[in-house]
């Protein structure tokens, strides 16, 4: 029974990684850049919800809506101010470094506004726990919500990218930016839209992360962000189902590592998995093997 209980914990943790990884993988798949500030947008989203509920006294639904809108706008603004001017720069490194800069900027702004003290997150999602096998296995409401929400987002994103017009524009931009432009796709608008969706997802991820582990500091998003990045690479960066599977597997590996090996080296195990996967299958579980044309 403890095995099933650990498995449940792993899936619960993994589905949060999965939602964050979806944001990473979207942006990477389409804009071909690693948005290292993604984890910090999650933190911003959580702070917006917390402030809206505790300071402004808004109902949870309104707070979530405000947070999603706020993060969406934030994502568009970051892309426009920090990334777009560099997109034509000679190396991808410039954008990567800028993303790290944006990450620190967001962390320090939050530090300035909210202080370094950890804050307990309020209960936003109130779903009763489910008790199975005569109380031997208790599944928390938030776990169920997280899993359901991450599956819905994955399906919706897949549908959006494959079946809708803006989604196809995204695919086109991803395949070949210049060719897409020649075909009449507005590249800048498409990438803006990608960031908007990615950051909106970050707000949802922030809500779920802080509901499952109710503490919030300016650094809350940083480590889950890195882990989710690992999950995205693990699943094959750029692949939407890959992010989902990678996230859940990573969560399960982490929890099993803690439970059956040692709680001291849980993180080491997670990153060791990344190294092994990259050695064996450099494109990740679901990654496409793209031949470089010379």
């Amino acid at each position: 029974m403890s095995f099933i209980s650990y498995l449940k914990d792993g899936i619960s943790l993994g589905s949060i990684y999965a939602i964050i990884a979806l944001g990473y993988t979207m942006v990477y798949g389409i804009a071909k850049m690693l948005n290292f500030a993604h984890g910090d947008v999650i933190m911003v989203g959580a702070f917006v919800i917390l402030t809206a509920i505790t300071k402004a006294g808004l109902p949870p639904a309104a707070a979530i809506l405000i947070s999603v809108v706020f993060c969406t706008v934030l994502g568009i603004v970051i892309e426009k101010i920090a990334y777009r001017p560099l997109r034509k720069a000679s190396s991808n490194l410039a954008v990567l470094i800028t993303a790290i800069g944006v990450s620190y900027l967001l962390q320090n702004l939050a530090l300035l506004i909210f202080g370094a003290d950890a804050k307990s997150f309020v209960t936003v999602i109130d779903v009763p726990s489910v008790s199975l096998f005569g109380g031997q296995l208790v599944i928390k409401g938030i776990t169920i919500v997280t899993i359901v929400v991450s599956v819905i987002i994955m399906v919706a994103l897949t549908f959006f990218v494959q079946k809708t017009k803006p989604g196809r524009a995204m695919q086109a931009v991803s395949e070949d930016r210049d060719a897409a432009q020649l075909m009449g796709v507005n590249v800048n608008a498409t990438i803006s839209l990608t960031f908007a969706i990615g950051s909106g997802l970050a707000a949802i991820a922030g809500l779920l992360l802080c509901s499952a582990y109710p503490t919030l500091t300016p650094y809350t998003g940083a480590m889950p962000g890195i882990k989710a990045f690992v999950a995205a690479v693990f699943g094959g960066i750029g692949s939407i189902p890959g992010a989902m599977v990678g996230g859940i597997l990573l969560g399960v590996i982490e929890i099993f590592g803690k439970a059956y090996i040692s709680s001291q080296v849980a993180d080491a195990i997670v990153f060791a998995v990344l190294i092994i996967v990259l050695l064996v299958k450099p494109t990740g579980l679901f990654g496409k093997n793209i031949q470089e044309k010379v």
């Binding site: 209980s5 003290d117 309020v122 208790v138 928390k140 001291q264 993180d267």
Partner: protein, 386 residues
């Protein structure tokens, strides 16, 4: 660099002597005071620690002056030396305070700075830190003393307290293995557990980077049959641990150390979860004894409504310990720093103090030997345990 510094300080000293020669010689007789300096972070991230120490030192010195000062001489607290918690700035502040005539140092407040300043002050200026917990803070010279427990001492004292008071026999530990404070306390606790009749049935860790999900560790602890969970972590982590333990339906006692102080002030934290939790800490502003209450009131008046923390209580006790030693050593303000330092260090070994943080004596290493104090959280406030 060194020569340049020396030249500068000599020039400064000459200039100062020249400008001050006249008035000093006129007033010297009736105006002799001891000058005490405080070094600590007065601004920046740890400003709370430094300002608490400085304010409390001021309160204690005011009281001491009303009651005859040190060995009959009035005591003056120099303007605070701000090091922002940085060792290099601390050494600069130390030199600056010496130039202003500092004879004894109440500080420094943080460990890193104290190690650096301790090396400078060794066998020259009497150093008494209220709050630097790292072992090395006072190991440079025999004239360096400490008011608080060291990190390792906290772990051993916790084990002793739990054992002596029969709080549990089977204990579990959950700590941050990446932070030296947490792991230092953990190591000494585990080491001292056996001799205090405690069996460590679960020894679980997490890391600073992975400090949100404790479900697995808590489950292992629950399965181990432990009666008490020792949590040598800062309050923010402990708040989350208590929350998750409650969600998991665990019925276990919690015991923390001074880093847990502050748990009741975590924003939005449901303080009823901390009900019954115990912590080893030298001082609490809500303690009901007369001395603590009087101190809290004075602090409140001086700062316009602020509440002192344990750093303040430690600093308050430092000044009183200095007074006891100064009276016994019969030092006078015209003595050189080296002589004051030697006489004070000698007298400290026979000094006993019944202070805010407990009844204290000092060993030759400068370590404070006092009974640990524990508090239990009842009705959302600390109550001292019997």
């Amino acid at each position: 660099m060194r020569n340049w510094k020396k030249a500068l300080s000599v020039t400064a000293a000459v200039a100062m002597a020249a400008t001050m020669a006249m008035p000093v010689s006129v007033f010297a007789e009736g105006d002799e005071t001891f000058k005490i300096g405080v070094i600590g972070p007065m601004t920046g991230d740890y400003a709370q620690y430094g300002t608490n120490v400085y304010n409390a030192a001021q309160i204690a010195i005011n009281e001491v002056n009303e009651n005859g000062g040190f060995n009959g001489y009035q005591v003056e607290l120099l303007a605070a030396g701000d090091d922002m918690g940085d060792p290099e700035k601390a050494v600069n502040a130390y030199n600056d305070l010496l130039d202003k005539g500092m004879q004894m140092l109440c500080g420094t407040v943080t460990s890193g700075s104290c190690i650096a300043v301790g090396a400078e002050a060794a066998e020259s200026t009497f150093l008494f830190t209220p709050s630097a917990t790292a072992v090395d803070s006072i190991t440079s010279g025999s004239n360096e003393f400490r008011m608080c427990f060291t990190d390792p001492a906290q772990g051993a004292k916790s084990a002793q307290y739990i054992g002596e008071h029969g709080l549990a026999t089977k204990v579990a530990v959950l700590y941050d293995s990446m932070a030296d404070y947490n792991s230092g306390v953990h190591d000494s606790f585990v080491e001292a557990a056996e001799e205090n009749g405690l069996e460590v049935v679960a020894d679980e860790a997490y890391t600073t980077d992975n400090n949100t999900d404790y479900s697995v560790q808590l489950k292992k602890i629950a399965d181990s049959g432990a009666e008490l969970l020792f949590l040598p972590n800062y309050y923010s982590d402990n708040a989350l641990i208590l929350q998750q333990a409650s969600e998991a339906g665990m019925d276990i006692k919690f015991f923390g150390v001074d880093g847990m102080d502050g748990i009741l002030n975590v924003e939005n934290f449901d303080t009823s979860l901390a009900e019954g939790a115990m912590l080893l800490t030298p001082f609490s502003a809500t303690a009901e004894d007369e001395a603590s209450q009087a101190f809290v009131k004075s602090y409140n008046e001086l700062t316009g409504g602020e509440t002192p923390n344990q750093f303040a209580a430690d600093a308050y006790d430092v000044i009183y310990a200095m007074k006891a030693a100064a009276d016994a050593a019969e030092i006078t303000p015209d003595m050189a720093n080296e002589d004051i330092s030697a006489a004070m260090s000698e007298a400290m070994l026979s000094t006993e103090l019944d202070g805010l943080t407990g009844k204290a004596k000092w060993t030759e290493d400068g370590e404070c030997d006092k009974e640990p104090k524990a508090f239990v959280i009842e009705d959302g406030a600390y109550k001292e345990m019997e």
